[in-house]
């Protein structure tokens, strides 16, 4: 449905997007994760036809965006990260305006608008002025607006940013509904766990480059060989660090002020032995746990790695 091939966007010498490639199949939900300034918005703007790439190719449903931007724009619903609304316009008129922009004939407009406002739970705000809506409502209205021409592909740039927890849940419910409607969705966020339960695939972007990309399970599998042990110690940590370093199964150690993280490869048997020996050596262990590998820690792991490599 969406194929991005070796996309580059340079601002002078700086490359905001640096050789990014993507392939999202029809009906998939692709989560696009990255720290601030990673290049998510830039990529999405290029896909939405709002920015000209320095090089590279974007194909939507088999059509090259540089060759036929109008046809591609017809297939994309885009929701920017920041947007404004016109003052002096009512919700229904707002929807009517964008229907007109997409050339939807007048008689059909009202029905479409009603359906979409129903979908985003704004039916009771039909006659309000758009600039009087709360932020969450505006965001939902903008989502409804991006659906007005029934696009196959949705490009949503942080649709849940700036929303309170309740509104986030609501937004997620709406997105699930869209998923059930069979839309292909590219959605960006800073927060991986939020995407994990929604998305079929995930890509992590760092400094304009794709660090890792694949289905949620695949990524978990690729990361989770190599587990992490977290040990909390009372008193001097030095002997504990020295002891852990001597263990052959432990590959890497990082000591923080309160705990020690150690990457290891082995089973519970080995772990039990390590704990036994720690206590034998008079080290006062408070807790000793194997860290749950969730997407959040994968994300931190990967992106911090990226910064270290670059620095």
């Amino acid at each position: 449905m969406l194929v991005v091939d070796n996309l580059v966007k340079s601002y002078g010498k700086f490359k905001a997007v640096d050789g990014l490639s993507l392939d999202i199949g029809e009906g998939h939900i692709y989560g696009f994760v990255g720290a601030n300034g990673a290049g998510k918005t830039t990529t999405m703007k290029i896909i939405a036809g709002l920015l000209k790439p320095t090089s590279g190719k974007v194909m939507v449903d088999g059509t090259d965006i540089s060759e036929n931007p109008k046809a591609v724009k017809r297939k994309i619903g885009y929701m920017p990260d920041f947007f404004g609304v016109y003052d002096d316009l009512k919700v229904t008129e707002y929807m009517d305006f964008y229907s007109g922009v997409y050339g939807i004939p007048k008689p059909e407009r009202k029905k479409i608008a009603d359906q979409l406002l129903e979908l985003v739970n704004l039916s009771d705000k039909k006659d309000s002025y758009v600039d009087s809506l709360s932020r969450g409502m505006k965001q939902r209205l903008c989502l409804a607006r991006s659906l007005i021409h029934n696009p196959k592909l949705l490009v949503l740039d942080e649709p849940a940013s700036g929303l309170d927890p309740r509104a986030r849940v609501e937004m997620k419910e709406i997105l699930k509904e869209l998923r059930n409607m069979g839309k292909t969705i590219l959605i960006s966020s800073h927060i991986l766990p939020e995407l994990a339960e929604l998305c079929t695939s995930i890509g992590i972007i760092e400094r304009g480059k794709m660090v890792i990309s694949g289905t949620v399970d695949e990524i978990m599998r690729r990361i989770s060989h190599g587990k992490t042990l977290r040990v909390k110690i009372l008193g001097d940590m030095e002997p504990a660090v020295r002891f852990l370093k001597e263990q052959p199964i432990i590959s890497r150690i990082s000591a923080a002020s309160e705990f020690i993280d150690a990457d290891f490869d082995g089973d519970s048997d080995v772990l039990a032995d390590i704990l036994k020996n720690l206590i034998k050596n008079d080290i006062r262990v408070v807790s000793f746990t194997e860290l749950e590998k969730n997407l959040e820690s994968v994300f931190m792991h990967l992106t911090i790695g990226g910064v270290q490599n670059a620095g």
Partner: protein
């Protein structure tokens, strides 16, 4: 034209509420007041003279109102369009329109048409007042139509200049200032250029001819406008200042084929088209280079497509 959703939306919001009707009413009251003053004063002076009514008064009135509206257009039109695009950028609504398949030229023309319609509405609404001069004769209906045509093209020019500036600059304030400076230069810069040319290059030989004046000032709206009143301007201070005589030229343009207002109207039309095209090109986010047509890759691709 009304199928343009931008026009439809802008008309809806601009005409809503009390502001527009209030503005139009205030303007008409103001004009009505001036007219009243004119006629009253003429009655007053008629008491002390033999004629009961001097038809010159009607002519004077026509000239004054025409001039008033000229300056109104000059000052208001740029203000309405010079923030059109930059304002949308500032309010972050531009991307939402640009990501649709509405063409950038529809956006630009929509904005211009609405702004012009808005100012011309003021002018049109005043037509009945202006038409009272027909009661006294001295003005032909063609004069009035020509005046209106001149206004239209001038508003178009001011509007497209403003739009162009608003696509050029990110900040509305900057766009506004540049637009007004440009207009100021057209009005006062062109006669200065003419004077410089006359003094330093022609060494003050003969007085500049109308042809010379037009070569320098064809783009000067005031120059074009005042030539509309050739032969009628006597007695009107401001029209006088801008009339030919001030530039040391014969007062009438005589039998010279092209009149300054023609040159000015032609200029306004051509410049507007250029500005609108440039503005549409400028807001298109995936524009091609102006001079580089297609990259090699695109050409190859096209060939491939043709082969298939």
């Amino acid at each position: 034209m009304l199928a343009n959703p931008v026009i439809e939306k802008e008309l809806k919001t601009k005409m809503r509420g009390w502001k527009s009707p209030a503005l139009i009413s205030a303007y008409l009251c103001f004009l009505g007041f001036i007219v009243l003053l004119f006629y009253l004063s003429s009655r007053e002076s008629a008491r002390y003279s033999a004629d009961y009514f001097n038809p010159r008064v009607a002519l004077e009135l026509y000239n004054s109102i025409a001039m008033l509206q000229f300056f109104l257009l000059l000052f208001i039109t740029p203000a309405m369009t010079a923030a059109a695009i930059s304002g949308e950028r500032e309010r972050q609504t531009l991307d939402l329109v640009l990501c649709t398949n509405l063409s950038s030229s529809s956006i630009v023309t929509g904005k211009i048409v609405v702004s012009i319609a808005h100012v011309l509405l003021l002018v049109t609404a005043s037509l009945p007042i202006l038409a009272t001069v027909f009661l006294y004769g001295g003005i032909r209906i063609t004069d009035l139509l020509l005046l209106f045509g001149f206004y239209l093209l001038m508003a178009l020019f001011m509007g497209s200049l403003g739009i162009f500036c608003s696509t050029l600059f990110k900040k509305s304030a900057v766009s506004m200032i540049v637009t007004y400076i440009t207009i100021f230069c057209l009005i006062s810069g062109t006669p200065i250029l003419l004077a410089i040319w006359h003094v330093f290059i022609m060494h003050n030989q003969n007085a500049p001819t109308l042809y010379d004046a037009m070569s320098f000032m064809f783009s000067n709206p005031v120059f074009g406008f005042s030539s509309l009143f050739e032969g009628m301007s006597r007695g009107n201070m401001i029209l006088e200042i801008f009339s030919m005589r001030t530039y040391g030229m014969p007062q009438t343009t005589g039998n010279f084929m092209i009149k300054p207002w023609m040159a000015n109207m032609a200029f306004n039309l051509v410049a507007s088209v250029i500005f609108i095209l440039l503005a549409a090109w400028k807001i298109n986010p995936v524009k091609r280079g102006l001079f580089i047509r297609k990259t090699e890759a695109q050409k190859a691709n096209q060939l491939k497509n043709q082969a298939v």
